[in-house]
Subunit: 155 residues, 2 copies
Amino acid sequence: MKPILPEGHLAAWRRYYPSFWRILAAIEADLAAAGLPSLSWYDALYELYLAPGRHLRMNELARSALLSRSGLTRLVDKLEKEKLIERQACPSDGRVQHAQLTDKGVEQLRKMWPVYRAGIAKYFAAHLTDAEAAQLEKSLGKVATAMEPPREAGD
Amino acid sequence: MKPILPEGHLAAWRRYYPSFWRILAAIEADLAAAGLPSLSWYDALYELYLAPGRHLRMNELARSALLSRSGLTRLVDKLEKEKLIERQACPSDGRVQHAQLTDKGVEQLRKMWPVYRAGIAKYFAAHLTDAEAAQLEKSLGKVATAMEPPREAGD
DNA sequence: GGAAGTTAGTTGCATACACAACTAATTTTA
DNA sequence: TAAAATTAGTTGTGTATGCAACTAACTTCC
């Protein structure tokens, strides 16, 4: 097996990988220090916030929030207990549950965003020029798009 | 709180974040499918491989391998049980343990690398031109360098 | 040199997550 | 329409990880 992995690309990966982990840990620490829940809560709430009607099926939410379905079930349990979302049975398909963002959920997003934004600014954006950010967005956009539909069947 | 986070930088973050998670999940799946251990094993073994004498203190290894000290202790337990590393008491300081890479550990790295490399190539590098990879390396290098010493005391 | 403080590593405990097995509901097939 | 296959979500179980508390060893300070 000899895949095409030029030195320069490997060097990029060797920056990409640890930078992400360290930024993530720093942001999580900031959230925890502010008495706020973790980024996985934010991700799920934010995906619902973006969705039309502010609701998604569990399956869709799992995909957007980068979780397995079982992981999503547990996360939704916690979010529902905090009344940040509500489970709603789908009238047209008895198997489907919708996760519906509540006003309290929107409020939680508003509380978390300043801390999250500050973390992105401090740990990530502060080190990039406008041009670099634009270039990064373009390059990683291609990567992200390619990975987007995490189907199991071969491409 | 109004940190400097221009739109373009936020857009870059919104690509960076999910692209990383998805690539990581794909690579981990490939490793598991090949009957190999996870990336955290690779990271730890590789850091030891790079270190002079192929050994590091637990503390140093925890930092390089992006783990908490307790997490590292548990990981080293497992690596040692597989004889991929050995714990060695430091002669000059009785508190210190060194993790020493064994030949079997080097062998494990050699088994994992082709799968890991193929994942990097397929999920990451394939979508980037040489110029983009170079630019990414430079930009994320600045980010990574800034995050590098994860000290707890305020900057 | 001995008490107090610091440092390195480990262990107890709690949490977050994935995979596989399960249940229930829908769709397909004959 | 009844059986088989598929799909959505949940639950059982195992694993990885972090934080806080702990132990042991070194350093500092008087």
